[in-house]
């Protein structure tokens, strides 16, 4: 945690610096943000933002303290009293279904003197009892018990001292998000055009998707933005970073391998997100590798259904740190490819350090046997031990280290994100594309990543998230 002092290595906070409701930024941060804006116009990114104390503190306030943050899936807390410990940025919350059936996101801190209430990562409870002085709260957050109340707290109105909670909580097709800012766009407004793509994943299976098991959690010396950037999507890396998995046969080269094949699409500037769609011939009806009996066309438009039918692999990121992968792959080269869906969240721990969370989801009405098979495929491909994901985390090594250098700061080192910009590469806008956002006829372009970094810039400047092309021509 940065102290006042060390968050400002370049001298005192400039009092004339920009200010939003919640945080004052130093002139140094303003300068970095200005550089970022100019650089991104030219497809470049100042490396410093991947590991900088002041930038990190500003992110916690302006991004994690403002945006809609993924908390969990409603199938993780199906019964009254079910709860799971979750974080918004670094702030601890309890994701809980109360006895009234309602899902809340309660601040994990006693309203008396602040002690932690929730010790378990997941469980079921009617009450939380504070270990310090014994105040007891119901799973709705209401204050239900005060030891020695008549003597100690006569006159106190317990209704005023229930647990603090995230002021805004919304559920989009099972995905629960919260915002700790009192005001802002609704979740649907925030997701914006990207809903169209999210729906393809959440609505393609009969009965929707459900979570299996608890989320994987693991730590890495990479900035949270490395995860968001990679999944936003970076199709260029698959042929190199994941070459070994195609050699051994955990995936199919045509489905998820080398970038640049004709049918593959990138969709950029879809408000909150961007995505890579590895499309085959829709006649193949691959549906991310799911058996056809689990598929339904009831909840999707014809255009969305056609994307799902043709898609064997998709990744995407919803700003700031919720990513997904929907993939036909295998954990065993002797077994056929099967589909799974994974949500992943890149949580900020410190500058250049993150905690990855990953949930495995499967079609809710699939057979138990298929669900277990899909879990095995997810585990064998995208998890801490996943044959794909091991290498993603390995190739991100060194980015945060370099970003934190004096050299990067002094020399204002820029990273190259120019692929697909005018004059660089061959990707063109696909004018015939049916979905929202801007589709490119080739996935050898980095407008996906620039969409993420463009939203980052907006949020860091206190503006509303939402990338549109050509308005945001980066």
């Amino acid at each position: 945690m940065a102290t006042e002092e060390d968050s400002c290595p370049h001298g005192d906070v400039d009092r004339s610096a920009a200010m939003t409701d919640d945080v004052t930024t130093s002139s140094r941060v303003e300068r970095i943000l200005d550089t970022h804006r100019e650089a991104l116009q030219d497809g470049q990114l100042p490396m410093t933002v991947y590991n900088d104390e002041e930038i990190f503190e500003t992110e916690l306030h302006r991004i994690f303290g403002q945006c809609w943050m993924f908390i969990g899936h409603e199938t993780e807390v199906p019964e009254p009293g079910d709860y799971a410990k979750r974080y918004i940025g670094k702030d601890p919350f309890i994701f809980i279904r109360g006895e009234d059936g309602q899902i809340r996101v309660l601040f994990d801190s006693c309203t008396h003197h602040g002690s932690q209430l929730c010790k378990a990562e997941q469980g079921n409870s009617s009450h939380f009892r504070c270990p310090y002085h014994g105040w007891t709260f119901k799973n709705t957050g209401d204050l239900a018990g005060i030891p020695l109340r008549d003597q100690a707290f006569e006159g106190l109105d317990p209704d005023e001292w229930g647990l603090h909670e995230a002021p805004r909580v919304e559920n989009y097709k099972g995905l629960v998000f919260a915002s700790i800012a009192d005001e802002g766009p609704s979740l649907e407004e925030y997701l914006g055009d990207f809903k169209w793509y999210l729906d393809v994943h959440l609505d393609i299976a009969k009965g929707g998707m459900e979570v299996i098991g608890e989320p994987h959690r693991w730590r890495a010396d990479s900035d949270w933005k490395s995860g968001s950037d990679n999944f936003s999507a970076d199709s260029y890396h698959t042929g190199v970073a994941h070459r070994s998995v195609f050699e051994v046969g955990f995936g199919d080269e045509d489905i998820s391998g080398t970038a640049g094949q004709e049918t593959q699409r990138h969709v950029t500037h879809a408000d909150s997100g961007s995505t890579s769609l590895r499309l085959l011939d829709p006649e193949e009806e691959i549906f991310f590798g799911y058996p056809e009996e689990y598929i339904t066309d009831e909840n999707l438009s014809d255009e969305q259904y056609e994307v799902a039918a043709a898609c064997g692999a998709a990744t995407g990121t919803i700003f700031p740190n919720l990513s997904f992968i929907h993939l036909a792959a295998t954990n065993d080269p002797d077994k056929p490819l099967d589909g799974f869906f994974s949500l992943r969240q890149w949580q900020p721990v410190a500058p250049g350090e993150m905690e990855a969370w990953s949930w495995v989801l499967v079609p809710a009405e699939a057979s138990e046997e298929y669900k277990q098979r899909a879990y095995d495929v997810a585990l064998g491909t995208f998890s801490p031990s996943g044959n794909f994901e091991q290498d993603d985390f390995a190739v991100w090594d060194g980015i945060a280290e370099a970003a934190g250098t004096v050299f990067a700061d002094k020399q204002d080192v820029q990273m190259n994100y120019q692929m697909g910009m005018p004059g660089i590469g061959k990707a063109e806008i696909d004018e015939d594309w049916d979905g929202p956002g801007t589709a490119w006829d080739d996935n050898l372009e980095e407008g996906t990543c620039r969409t993420f970094h463009g939203n980052w810039q907006k949020a860091m400047n206190g503006e509303e998230v939402g990338m549109r092309y050509p308005r945001d021509h980066i």
Binding site: K119, A120, E121, Q122, G123, S125, I212, G213, E214, P215, H216, R217, W218, R219, A220, D221, S222, V240, A241, R243, S244, V245, E247, V248, G249, F250, N331, D332, P333, D334, K335, E355, Y375, D376, L379, G380, S383, P384, S385, N387, E389, Q390, D391, F393, A394, V395, D397
Partner: protein
């Protein structure tokens, strides 16, 4: 033959298990993964369940029944080993230097040709210039089976002492 194990003295059994673990640790630490595979039975079950902090009063085990870091059989382990041998397996470039410290070996049960053995594992890992390295602690619940006179690993349940993994990936065997 079936009762050969039951006729062994406790001392002999203990010695045989410790020898097995020492040999296994050496193969893993020397990256002799093909030879390590030879220590596994054809029907090996190799699991590492997620660990989840539960309420102190909870009757549920901390070891997940649904979430895993490893849930392998012989075929998936062989595929992983094959991948590690690729020059493009970046998670093992440079190779993680491991040291498997196996202690507290307890033979919990003897059933015909099979021994249920609990043991503690401290696994030290360091990669490249990393000064501190990473240490992971676990208990292993194993089933060792005598096959053609040799002990082989038939089941391993790796029970971590961590709920949040302290490393960026799992690219080694436990």
């Amino acid at each position: 033959m079936t009762n050969q194990m039951t006729h062994q003295s406790e001392l002999e059994r203990h010695y045989e298990c410790v020898s097995f673990y020492n040999r296994e640790a050496e193969l893993l630490d020397e990256k002799e993964l093909e030879h390590w595979l030879e220590l596994l039975t054809e029907d090996i079950r190799y699991d590492m369940p997620l660990r989840v902090t539960r309420d102190r009063g909870s009757d549920r085990s901390e070891f997940s029944e649904e979430g895993f870091n490893y849930r392998e059989d012989r075929s998936t382990l062989e595929a992983r080993v094959e991948r590690f041998q690729s020059e493009f397996a970046w998670s093992e470039d440079p190779p993680t230097r491991t040291r498997h410290f196996v202690t507290n070996v307890r033979v919990a049960d003897v059933d015909g040709d099979e021994l249920s053995v609990k043991n503690n594992l401290l696994l030290f890992m360091a990669q490249g210039e990393e000064a501190d390295g990473t240490t992971v602690s676990a208990e292993r619940h194993d089933v060792l089976r005598r096959v053609d006179g040799e002990l082989k690993l038939a089941e391993r349940d790796i029970r971590l002492d961590h709920t949040v993994l302290p490393m960026k990936n799992i690219s080694v065997f436990f």
